[in-house]
């Protein structure tokens, strides 16, 4: 319980809290750069089309318009894995794809200019679903993706990047099993994590090859790295991060937007601000990947899994930077939850004519779990195994191993999460409410109650590199040099707490530089719950290094060994005679500073864990599913910031989390591929007026990470919930549900009250009435 700490574990005020709630925080759309222009993007009405001609003459002639770009004159900078998507292209690949760019002196002029651009399209046949994309003879979206299958693996994770899990002998495993189940389940509603602030960037091009970008990103330094390659290694990139109004992964970087703004700035010779509207954010930015698996699982009576085989189809939309990485991490995470000696899990990444996919918290693992756990549930049901007992038995334990994203085998050396799981089950009352598979916990009239449980964990808490410097100033203050831009989780404040704890300074004596790549060292960014251990580790190491240097410099003055000295509140003193303290400025001098360096290197031997219990009430007359109760259980090692952690765990509901099993989904027009619900009325999003009873159980079992023995858990909070909801609804109804979200329509269809439609059907399949009659306006 953080005993003996001055700041760690205390509910201290977040460094930026007052500025945010009083409106002083300046987000990207509040920034003005001298001579700045406003950018706008003309978007395609077609899901797939060739641009035959674009007439921009009227737009260029409009007063205030400073630059208009089309595929004919845009630079050939490229993004995507593989690198196939251009700033602008002569083919559009989803309804909402970029067709032309405008920069003007006012937003109104830029918007008006878009209306004056005349485009002639040759519509091409589109593939809107994975089934259409994989059909023999299907039209291809990119020549680089033959058969619409995207190349596996990402260079980011090295030559052995995980694309599946293969070990042992699955046939032997199935033969040894007491029960085997096969099934298809998908998590294909591609929800949008929808941070409050839409993506945006300000770009300033300076000839011949310098680009400065103000970004609203989760990982500001990553923009610099990724853009360097996107610009063909020819451009000197500087990125300046600021407060980011939420991300949930999606705004890790806004690469295509950054390229477009830079291209406009280069063409206009002035800085350009390009901020997406909410509609663009919802339909033309990035969505969660779609996921569907055909799986076969073998199990023994005691819950030992003998074999897992499966073909995992991943819908990446028209492109993504990161889907291969999500597949790799998802495959790694599956092994944390299902312990089996025999695996044959394969993945196929499919591109479709819909919005791009991007990073969304859960990062491959949530998608794979939501798809495969319902199949695992079938085997548990056959053997009458309580899913809580199953997860407890199977979740990774010290000494267990797994292939992680780089294809290497790692042995887990972290804590046993069984205690946290038991604490969660007790808080939820699992043993009282679990009545067996497909058994409701209670039935009152038409309202049937059911419970479910899910679990998830991630080894990326120790991924990638973080670097930080800590500078000690003579007057007893410290500055952290870090690109840890704030994206809503309070991570910079937590780093300040850690550094203040190491240096024994009051919190208000520690500050952080802007996340400016011209100022700070490298920072991979706060992803995969790595903020606490990896980023914290770098800042702690930098603070320890600075402290060591300070004490070494003080040693001659005090006539003692550095090891006999300590520092607190800007004083240095011998531990055995604190009355002989001297001020930092007596050590550093008036002119000067002490700089410490810190670095974290990847470590894939610890994992976090989140178990989520849910109780739902299903109305069998209306099909309405209400989320009644949620209990999240985890162990954070040491809690750095209690309210921040509480908010992270409460965030398990929205942002493409638990609610993606209930009502969050992106709806496409089945005929045209246009997003129909790109607004906050039709994209169902929980409000604060409709919260379930929620409880977070957080244990603190010291873990062997850094000096504060803490690990992060924020990113995983959303991941176990959706499959738990599906399990709970299945139990409430007494029949298996295997599609997300569980809408009234799907519930009523399961109950046989309406005809069921095909998998993933967004208005297709079984016809209740002949539509051509209706189109003709027949009297009804």
């Amino acid at each position: 319980m953080a005993a003996g700490y001055r700041h760690i574990g205390k509910a201290t005020e977040r460094a930026d809290a007052r500025d945010i709630v009083t409106g002083r925080t300046r987000y990207l759309s509040d920034l003005e750069v001298p001579r700045m222009l406003y950018g706008r993007v003309l978007r395609s009405p077609h899901a797939h089309a060739r641009i035959l001609s674009i007439d921009t003459s009227a737009a260029r002639a409009l007063p205030g318009v400073e630059a208009v770009l089309t595929h004919a004159d845009a630079p050939d900078w490229r993004v995507g894995t593989p690198r196939v998507v251009r700033v602008l292209d002569s083919t559009v690949r989803f309804a909402g794809d970029s067709v032309a760019l405008v920069a003007a002196t006012t937003e109104a002029a830029a918007e008006r200019a878009l209306e004056l651009i005349e485009v002639e399209y040759e519509p091409l046949p589109a593939v809107l679903t994975m089934d259409e994309a994989l059909a023999p003879g299907a039209p291809e979206i990119f020549p680089e993706a033959p058969g619409n299958v995207v190349s596996a693996g990402t260079p980011w994770f090295g030559p052995e990047c995980l694309t599946g899990v293969r070990m042992g002998d699955v046939e032997r495993g199935f033969a040894e099993a007491d029960a085997v189940a096969e099934g298809v389940c998908g998590y294909e509603n591609i929800p949008n994590p929808l941070p409050a602030e839409p993506p945006g960037v300000i770009a300033h091009w300076e000839e011949p090859n310098k680009a400065t970008l103000w970004v609203s990103s989760q990982a500001a330094y990553q923009d610099k790295v990724v853009l360097f390659f996107a610009f063909g290694r020819q451009v000197d990139v500087r990125t300046i991060g600021g407060p980011c109004g939420g991300s949930f992964g999606s705004k890790l970087m806004s690469v295509q937007l950054a390229l477009q703004a830079t291209a406009l700035s280069r063409a206009a010779g002035r800085p350009v601000r390009l901020v997406m509207s909410k509609e663009e954010h919802m339909a033309a930015f990035v969505l969660r990947i779609g996921s569907r698996i055909k799986a076969k699982v073998g199990m023994k009576r005691d819950g030992t899994v003998t074999a897992v085989a499966g073909d995992w189809l991943v819908d990446t939309g028209y492109y993504s930077m990161t889907t291969q990485a999500q597949v790799a991490v998802g495959c790694g995470e599956a092994q944390l939850v299902v312990r089996s000696p025999n695996w044959d899990l394969r993945s196929t990444i499919v591109c479709t004519n819909r919005t791009a996919s991007g990073i969304v918290r859960g990062f491959g693992g949530q998608e794979l779990k939501c798809s495969i756990l319902p199949v695992v549930s079938r085997v548990m049901a056959e053997l009458d195994i309580d899913p809580f007992d199953f997860f407890k038995k199977n979740y990774v334990k010290p000494g267990d191993g797994y292939f992680w994203r780089d294809g290497q085998w790692y042995t887990y050396r972290g804590i046993d999460y069984t205690t946290a799981m038991d604490a969660g089950a007790a808080a939820f009352g699992w043993k009282d409410r679990w009545r067996g598979w497909l058994q409701p916990s209670a039935v009152h009239g038409t309202v049937r109650t059911g419970v479910g449980v899910g679990v998830h964990g991630n080894v990326d808490i120790g991924e990638s590199v973080s670097e930080a410097w800590v500078r000690l100033d003579p007057h007893g203050a410290a500055v952290i040099y870090s690109a840890a831009s704030e994206h809503g989780t309070g991570q910079p404040s937590n780093l300040i707490k850690m550094v203040a704890e190491v240096l024994q300074l009051p919190l208000d004596r520690v500050t952080m530089t802007p996340a400016d790549s011209a100022i700070t060292p490298f920072e991979f960014g706060p992803v995969g719950s790595r903020g606490t251990w990896a980023m914290g580790g770098a800042s702690i190491a930098a603070a320890e290094d600075a402290r060591r240097k300070l004490l070494e410099r003080a040693a001659p003055t005090l006539g003692r060994d550095p090891g006999d000295l300590d520092t607190c509140d800007g004083l240095v003193f011998p531990v055995d005679s604190p009355e002989n303290a001297i001020r930092w400025n007596a050590v550093i001098g008036r002119e000067g500073s002490v700089m410490g360096e810190g670095r974290f290197d990847p470590d894939f031997t610890l994992a976090n864990c989140m178990m989520t219990f849910v109780e739902v009430a299903v109305d069998s007359d209306t099909g309405k599913v209400d989320l009644r109760r949620v209990v999240n259980a985890t162990d954070a090692g040491t809690i750095i910031d209690p309210p921040g952690l509480e908010n992270q765990l409460n965030g398990s509901l929205g942002s493409a989390g638990i609610d993606s099993a209930l009502f969050e989904e992106t709806v496409y027009d089945p005929a045209t591929g246009r997003v129909l619900n790109a607004n906050m009325i039709d994209y169902k999003w929980r409000t604060f007026a409709e919260l379930p009873d929620m409880k977070n159980v957080v244990l603190e079992t010291p873990v062997d990470s850094h000096r504060f023995r803490a690990i992060g858990v924020g990113e995983v909070a959303t991941a176990p919930g959706p499959s738990a909801v599906l399990m709970a609804v299945s139990n409430a109804l007494g029949m298996w549900m295997d599609e997300y979200p569980v809408t009234p329509e799907r519930v009523l269809a399961a109950l046989g009250k309406v005809p069921a439609r095909g998998r993933g059907a967004g208005g297709t399949a079984a016809a209740a009435t002949d539509s051509d009659d209706l189109a003709a306006g027949a009297d009804r």
Partner: protein, 328 residues
């Protein structure tokens, strides 16, 4: 959003004259909670070039109740209707329907006239210009309705014709069950009164150019009438109905002597289930009667291929509304 002229009207006559000005595409604006969003989204191929502000017309927000019934001005805000003592006492489903709309912030600006005359929520009609251009559907004078071959989960199961968007107004449903009359005023002092459900057509409303809803009149409630308003939404607050039902039932000595069953969000106008009403009249109201009436109410439903689920859903809500009215 295209720029437009904005004029503050001070009388109904002035507003009607401005709205009927030849050569202009004028729109009336009160709370603006619907219109301004539609303009920002650029949903109209020919956006209005004149907005006539009605909020500056004095006295149009009055709520008056007496023996002759209730009269509510078109500018009365939904929040005021929801908390009006006489409305809560004598026409409670009207208050409940107003309270069921959107959020407190929106109810504080949104008006009764605006709630009755708001644009439909069909997501093809509402498709924003910024995502490849708005959709010129049948309702906007275009060649066809894209919904019929599209995703129709929220569309009509009754009375759709050409267009299958549903009337999104909650208050219209309650008002139809209360036999309310809508007062329309037009240029040159023209004035007419229509039952609320007759204001709507499959492609819009009966309002002529320059015509405005200025008030709603509701007759006094029958002494032994009991009523209920139920709204089924996907999300609780800030959502439009998937199905709503207003039920008003008069019981004398345990026998139903009069009934109104009005379904919302199932068709282009509030849909009165006349045969179901007839089924209720003359007998006791119990669960069996409610189930039977609900069966009859939905017997004529003609769902599209994407919204068959609305039929059993609506049946349940009708049944529950009848039983809830008994409690009311």
């Amino acid at each position: 959003m295209r720029s437009f002229r904005h004029v503050r009207a001070t009388t109904v006559a002035e507003a009607c004259a401005l709205l009927a000005e030849p050569g202009t595409r004028a729109r009336a604006n009160a709370g603006g909670s619907d219109l301004l969003g539609a303009l920002k989204d650029g949903i109209y191929p020919e956006p209005p070039d004149l907005l006539v502000d009605l909020k500056t017309i004095p006295g149009l927000d009055a709520i008056e109740a007496d023996e002759a019934g209730l009269r509510v001005g078109a500018l009365a805000r939904l929040a005021d209707i929801a908390r009006s003592e006489p409305i809560r006492a004598h026409w409670p489903i009207f208050s409940q329907a107003a309270q069921a709309v959107a959020s407190p912030q929106i109810r504080n600006v949104a008006t009764l006239g605006g709630n009755l005359c708001q644009e439909v929520r069909c997501w093809y009609f509402r498709y924003p210009a910024g995502l490849g251009g708005s959709i010129d559907c049948l309702r906007k004078g275009g060649p066809r309705c894209p919904a019929v071959k599209g995703d129709t989960r929220y569309h009509a199961i009754f009375e759709g014709r050409g267009c299958f968007a549903v009337c999104p107004s909650d208050t219209a449903v309650a008002l139809a069950a209360l036999d309310a009359i809508v007062v329309l005023e037009g240029p040159g002092g023209a004035r007419r009164e229509l039952p609320v459900q007759d204001v709507y057509t499959p492609l819009g409303t009966v309002l002529e150019p320059g015509e405005l809803v200025t008030a709603v009149r509701v007759p006094p409630p029958a002494e032994e009438a009991r009523s209920a308003f139920l709204k089924f939404t996907v999300r609780e607050p800030i959502d439009f109905a998937v199905v709503s039902v207003a039920a008003s039932i008069t019981l004398r000595d345990g026998v139903c002597t009069d009934a109104r069953l009005v379904l919302g969000a199932v068709g282009p106008r509030p849909y009165r289930a006349l045969e179901a009403e007839a089924r209720l009249i003359g007998g006791p109201i119990d669960e069996r009667a409610a189930v039977e009436a609900a069966e009859v109410a939905l017997a004529g439903a003609k769902p599209l291929r994407g919204n068959a689920y609305k039929v059993p859903l609506a049946r349940s809500i009708v049944m529950r509304a009848i039983l809830a009215a008994l409690e009311g």
